[in-house]
Symmetry: C2
Subunit: 344 residues, 2 copies
């Protein structure tokens, strides 16, 4: 690397023996210049370690090639994993992803959308808070930025949605639990801030009825995203109060189940399928750590890769194509896969 400091594209164009507009074109799309020209530029980049000023660059560009990713709560391993995969896919597709977490706060979500909007992103992948979201903020954002929603659907927001088919996934695990033992109660946060709660509740109720069982829902008190804590505290209470008519509990998500398992442990109740077990506990979502609970958690896994890939693919299709945007809002649902482990 030469020690001459190249500061501007003008200087860089000079040392690479090209004109600035050509270099500018390269930096927007490396394939838009002749291979020989490209080689010369990339050679010079190596030598002088030049990078164009991103602020000056994006100021007038129509397409920034920046992609926004907004998740409701990044400290939740579920969304951390999602973000990680999506980020990688975006980079590989030649975009610059930027991840925002709303940390469970609707205000911050709205603020994130405003910040993101100011960055003039080419597109965005959004997992909104859902029920708690500031709908106006999302409408306002998606009006200007091509967006695909994932994991958490909101009617009429964005160009499409990719997520799990809750009916299928809940139906599958409910059927499994019923057929392999007693029908499950459903354990869910009362004022759960996370998405998909309502949809899961309905799916549970429906599939129980279909199988000829009476649905039984136990609501866990507690606010916020501290699901393990909520599951633990409410679990202790519900177990002591004998709130569950059967020996089987289906938790709304794996984190709730982790807390519930801790409660059962504390109460001296052995969890599992075996003879000596007092309780069967199942979760939903297959969080990264659910394989390692004691006992390992029976749950429904989402195909992170499939959902992430499809989301990114749909989004890029929105502005990559010459074709006009589809008039229809596309909804793509993936099936969950039953993961039978020792807990139920």
């Amino acid at each position: 690397m030469s020690d001459t400091k190249i500061k501007t594209m003008e200087e860089f164009a000079a040392v690479s023996g090209l004109s600035r507009p050509t270099v500018s074109k390269y930096f927007f799309d490396a394939n838009s210049v002749r291979p020989k020209t490209r080689a010369r530029i990339e050679d010079a980049i190596e030598r002088y370690d030049y990078r164009p000023n991103i602020y000056a660059m994006n100021q007038n560009r129509r397409l920034t090639r920046t992609l926004g990713i907004v998740v409701p709560f990044l400290a939740d391993p579920f969304f951390a994993e999602f973000a990680r995969i999506i980020e990688r896919l975006c980079i590989d597709a030649g975009f610059r992803p930027i991840v925002f977490s709303s940390h469970g706060e609707p205000d911050l979500e709205a603020e994130n959308l405003k910040s993101l909007l100011a960055m003039k992103p080419s597109g965005a992948l959004l997992a909104p808070l859902g029920r708690l979201s500031d709908r106006a903020a999302l409408v306002n954002f998606t009006a200007e930025v091509p967006s695909i929603l994932f994991d958490s659907n909101m009617d009429g927001i964005g160009e499409g949605f990719v997520g799990l088919d809750n009916n299928q996934s809940i139906g599958t695990i409910v059927r499994y639990l019923c057929e392999s033992g007693q029908p499950p109660s459903f354990f869910e946060g009362k004022m759960a801030p996370n998405p998909n709660v309502q949809s899961k509740l309905e799916a549970y109720t429906q599939s129980m009825k279909q199988l000829g069982h009476e649905p039984h829902i136990v609501y866990a008190e507690g606010e916020g995203w501290d699901f393990e804590s909520i599951g633990y505290n409410a679990g202790i209470r519900a177990l002591q109060a004998r709130d569950f008519p059967t020996n089987t509990i289906l938790c709304g998500n794996d984190r709730l189940a982790v807390g519930f398992l801790a409660a059962a442990y504390e109460e001296g109740l052995r969890v599992g399928r075996g003879d000596g077990c007092a309780l069967r506990v199942a979760g939903h979502d297959d969080h990264p750590f659910s394989r390692f609970t004691c006992p390992p958690l029976t749950t429904v896994s989402q195909d992170f890769d499939a959902i992430a890939s499809k989301s990114v693919e749909l989004l890029i299709g929105l502005f990559d194509d010459r074709t006009e945007r589809p008039t229809e809002r596309q909804t793509t649902l993936f099936d969950g896969r039953l993961v039978i482990r020792a807990s139920a």
Copy 2:
């Protein structure tokens, strides 16, 4: 909100009855203008929903008020929690934090630093990969951007370091384990990619010797950041091979311990302090979910808030002050706090 679209600061200054330079000054520092002026501007912001173009803004600013946060692996709840707290502190201090995750890959870490450098951040809070880091990339970055390292120290990199006193924290839990039962073996990944591993190993060895016990380290095979998996697989192997001379195991971090607990469960070994227990297992770091393992994990907690606060405070002090940068690289170590739960 009026429906007139204000696009430029010129127009915005006009409708607020001020000059553009004054408005510009406000957007850099809201307190740099008279309260009455500020009120007028903020009133107009409400009415017209105007936001300056961030690219044009940052193009010529000396101080962008952007802060970079780089963590080695965001899908690890430990770093997710750290990032969350730091992000909040930065926002409250009037900065725009941007979080990057290196996803455990040294190449991506270097790439993140380059991307961040291109954003001309006012400063950065870095938790480098450590042993695996591309040192040159960090040297290059910190030469241009005032940086504070946290959690993971690297000699001579950055203006300072804030983290845990591994000697104290490991020493404390080793002493506790020794005094309350048998002395612990240390269970750690063989090629662990995460920071602080070497430092913890040394602290363990030293404190064991100090207490008159023979150190015994069991290395877990396995690559990457899948610590639960590594802890589980290596745990199974080590338990079956009877690799542990005593009934007590201190794991290098809580995620490893979670995997190890799963292994013990699978092997039918009851973990805890009680009479019927075959094994005592302790962790380190107090991950957010360690309270909910079965049994709950005895560990050493880091004071996330204190470390995060101190890091941000140090960093902001670097460019907030008129005073020149301190010539000395500051190292601030916090004590860990022993968290005794049921597992040991």
